[in-house]
């Protein structure tokens, strides 16, 4: 039986310790779950296993022999295979061709031997008991579940190299339907039956409880516990995932909360109200629709219902939303927020150009003042408004978006993962800023997958599931374990 052991693995990114001492023990023939909160070190650990990052310290042995994971080719030669939630495929090629991307393509007389290629693909699919995938069809015609199954089967195509034996599945069911997930679980069973090991990385408690033989729980870059089936229990896992002190990062909560500013209905059948002076958290598992909910409020996604600000309906579209005093900080700041190659001032003033122009002509002085004032208000560190956004750190890029949001003195502030990829110092600045905006009378909604952040920053936390805002919890005194349990209860229901 194959046996991979990691001991005391550490990895730092600059001053941030992503892994401080992780141990992991993986055997062939088992499903081993890896759990932990966002930021606990799961992704870094996977990158180390894949040879994409080199650990700073620690030992790795494979079958009792030392293994130096110096690059992706080492991981491949060691028999590791990695599958992410978004399976990388070439949509325009056939399934058989996709399955041969990492293999030598069968040839005859220097030409592609299509028959042999299809036969190899079909044999691999059959070996895992996967029915209903024709190797001749185009990959684009397959659903996400079948794409993943085809990718897994592709690893079985013999290519003369060492046999794969360890499958690392990272949130594999995030994009799958229930039926697709069931097919995946059957395939996982086949893999394990062949003697392979599966490292199953997931937030989904019910899947872990059902599939895993053992679970390793990470917390703050350390292995918090390793539990066998007998000791595996939901509350125990949650406690091990969250048992840390909430930092003193967070400003005090609102003393009083004002009247309702924003009311939205038709949100996947639910509704949401935001009050002046209040910070409302949106909690839910990955894919629960928090992001879509905020995009609906800013008007970037079509609405089923109405959004009212002070009782007045906000017309559809982001233009009307910004004009009405709703500001939005998107989740993916590089793709959805900033103009990376241009001076930061241009990103800050963009939604406010209407008020900065007279008869269509820009008032450059007024613009410069707006950028300087709002930059100072968020404690932006930059050389000046002309400095390209691309040259700023992640935290300062995020502050550019906050400067943009508050430059218009918004009534409503919508924040999607406001501290993603931001260092601790900038985090504290952002929390203080959010609270100050609320104190000045704005209503704030924060979507976050960081439970400590939700509890520390918010007054009220709304559970979101399938895009629908549901039960609300008071953040004060709430433990991470209780919040996580509430999120899972929603999922189980």
């Amino acid at each position: 039986m194959r046996h991979l052991v990691l001991t005391g693995v550490a990895k730092a990114y600059g001053p941030t310790l992503a892994l401080r001492g992780v141990s992991l023990d993986l055997r062939g023939g088992e499903v081993h779950a890896l759990m932990g909160e966002n930021g606990a070190g799961k992704s870094t650990l996977i990158r180390v296993l894949a040879g994409l990052e080199r650990a700073d310290a620690g030992e790795v042995t494979l079958d009792a022999a030392p293994l130096r994971l110096t690059g992706p080719e080492v991981a491949t030669a060691a028999g590791f295979r990695f599958l992410h939630q978004e399976v990388q495929v070439v949509p325009g090629l056939s399934v058989a061709e996709n399955m041969h991307l990492a293999h030598r393509i069968p040839q005859r007389w220097g030409l592609v031997d299509w028959g042999r290629m299809r036969a190899a693909a079909a044999a691999a699919l059959t070996e895992l008991g996967i029915a209903g995938i024709d190797p001749r069809v185009t990959m684009a015609d397959l659903g996400p579940g079948d794409r993943m199954l085809a990718r897994i089967a592709a690893t079985l195509i013999a290519d003369g190299g060492p046999e794969p034996w360890l499958y690392v599945l990272d949130e594999p069911t995030a994009a799958l339907s229930h039926a697709e997930a069931e097919r995946l679980f059957a395939v996982i069973g086949r893999l394990v039956g062949r003697g392979a090991g599966v490292l199953y990385v997931s937030h989904r408690m019910d899947e872990v409880m059902r599939l895993a033989d053992r679970v390793t729980v990470l917390r703050d870059g350390v292995t918090a516990s390793v539990l066998g089936r007998a000791a595996m229990d939901r509350d125990r896992i949650i406690r091990d995932m969250t048992g840390r002190d909430v930092d003193a990062l967070f400003p005090p909560r609102a003393a009083t909360v004002g009247r309702v500013l924003l009311e939205a209905d038709g949100l996947a059948g639910g509704s949401l109200a935001l009050r002046a002076g209040e910070v409302v958290g949106l909690a839910g598992l990955a894919g629960a629709g928090r992001n879509a909910l905020l995009k609906t409020l800013i008007g970037a996604l079509p609405r089923a219902g109405t959004v009212r600000l002070d009782g007045v309906a906000v017309p559809p579209g982001p233009t009307a939303a910004w004009a009405a005093g709703i500001a939005y900080v998107p989740r993916d700041r590089r793709a959805e927020g900033v103009m990376l190659g241009q001076g930061l001032g241009r990103t800050v003033s963009l939604p406010h150009l209407g008020v900065l122009a007279r008869a269509g002509f820009l008032r450059h002085r007024a613009e410069a003042r707006l950028v300087a004032d709002s930059g100072a208000a968020v404690r932006l560190k930059a050389r000046g408004p002309g400095q390209a956004v691309a040259e700023l750190s992640g935290g300062n890029q995020q502050k550019v978006l906050f400067a943009r949001a508050l430059a218009g003195r918004p009534r409503i502030l919508l924040l999607d993962e406001p501290t993603r990829g931001v260092d601790v110092g900038a985090k504290a600045d952002i929390y203080a800023l959010v609270r100050r905006m609320a104190q000045e009378g704005a209503a704030v909604a924060v979507a976050s997958s960081d439970l400590a952040e939700l509890i520390g920053l918010c007054d009220r936390i709304v559970l979101v599931r399938a895009g629908r805002p549901g039960r609300a919890l008071t953040a004060e005194g709430l433990s991470e374990a209780a919040l996580l349990a509430a999120i899972y209860d929603g999922e189980a229901a």
């Binding site: 939303a321 793709a335 190659g341 241009q342 269509g360």
Partner: protein, 322 residues
């Protein structure tokens, strides 16, 4: 080092090119007369490159400008031949430009066709229509009103006595076009929004910019600008044929790219585009005066463009690697 190359590489190259011709052609190159001639020769290219800067600021481009210039010239000439006056012919040609631009804009921004594909198709269409309208012939001679052709020969007399130095109306028109587009792109909120689209279209949408509408309007500039250039061309040669504007497109795009190598962040900017046109115009003018064979000239001009863009790319990479 990388930064200096990126920011000043093309400017230094431009100075070197001018210096080279100044030394090689001491009597004729650095004279007022030569530069005034040059300004007239370059005027059509200046107009087309200027409007091309607008669509490229949005991150698109327009391959149909040359064909549109030909079409507009032919439309005006055909109307002249039918006995219509200058006002009618010019208005019709400009209207054709506006319509063509609207068509390009609608294809790209409303239907979502890649600008390369959409404007390649309209290039073919405009060119075909120009042949249809003109019957494939050159329209010249008495059909073209004296006043129309005279406009291209006239201008403001700057002195010179017996052989007067005349800054032509064509050059003045071109510089007015540059000034107008500079105002629009650099001084208005509309222009700022156009650059935002080019910087990050999704971010612009989420920031409340009406992306589709704005993207469409940029193509109105290239449509009308190309038509203006076509009319200028027809006036200058006192004739029109269905291919005479075709060469403008590639040179205009080259000029914008050359200009982009001079600006911070590699953005298309109007004044930088003007500098790009000057580099290309000076190369052509100087090499012609040196009696360099026209085929060799093309090779040299292409090599200069590649050199400028390569140096800029290398400079950018060096900066990126810090």
């Amino acid at each position: 080092m990388g930064h200096a190359l990126r920011s000043y590489g093309t400017l230094i190259g431009m100075a070197a090119v001018i210096l080279f011709f100044w030394v090689m052609l001491p009597d004729t190159f650095m004279t007022a007369r030569n530069w005034i001639n040059l300004s007239q020769q370059m005027s059509m290219l200046i107009v087309v490159a200027t409007v091309m800067t607008v669509v490229m600021a949005v991150g698109d481009f327009d391959l149909s400008v040359g064909a549109m210039a030909s079409l507009a010239g032919v439309v005006a000439a055909v109307l002249f031949a039918q006995g219509h006056g200058i006002a009618v012919a010019v208005a019709a040609a400009l209207a054709v430009g506006l319509l063509g631009g609207a068509l390009n804009g609608a294809l790209v921004s409303l239907l979502g066709i890649l600008p390369f594909v959409a404007t390649l198709a309209t290039l073919t269409i405009f060119s075909g229509v120009a042949f249809l309208v003109s019957d494939g012939k050159t329209i010249s001679g008495r059909a073209i009103p004296e006043a129309f052709a005279g406009f291209a020969r006239g201008g403001i007399v700057l002195g010179g006595g017996e052989r007067p130095l005349v800054l032509s109306w064509l050059a003045i028109l071109a510089f007015l076009g540059v000034a107008l587009v500079w105002l629009v792109l650099e001084q208005t909120s509309y222009g700022r929004r156009l650059y935002a689209l080019g910087g990050n279209m999704e971010a612009a949408r989420l920031a409340g910019i009406k992306v589709a509408r704005l993207r469409l309007t940029a193509f109105l500039f290239t449509g009308v600008g190309a038509a203006v250039a076509g009319l200028m061309y027809a006036a200058r040669v006192a004739s029109a044929n269905p291919t005479q504007g075709d060469g403008l497109m590639l040179t205009a795009i080259a000029a914008v790219f050359l200009g982009m190598t001079m600006t911070r962040g590699g953005q298309p900017r109007v004044l930088a585009t003007l500098a790009g046109v000057v580099v290309l115009g000076v190369m052509d003018n100087g090499l012609t005066q040196l009696n360099v064979d026209s085929y060799v000239r093309e090779v040299l001009v292409g090599a200069i463009i590649l050199a400028a863009v390569s140096i800029s790319a290398i400079g950018r990479r060096a900066v990126g690697m810090r």
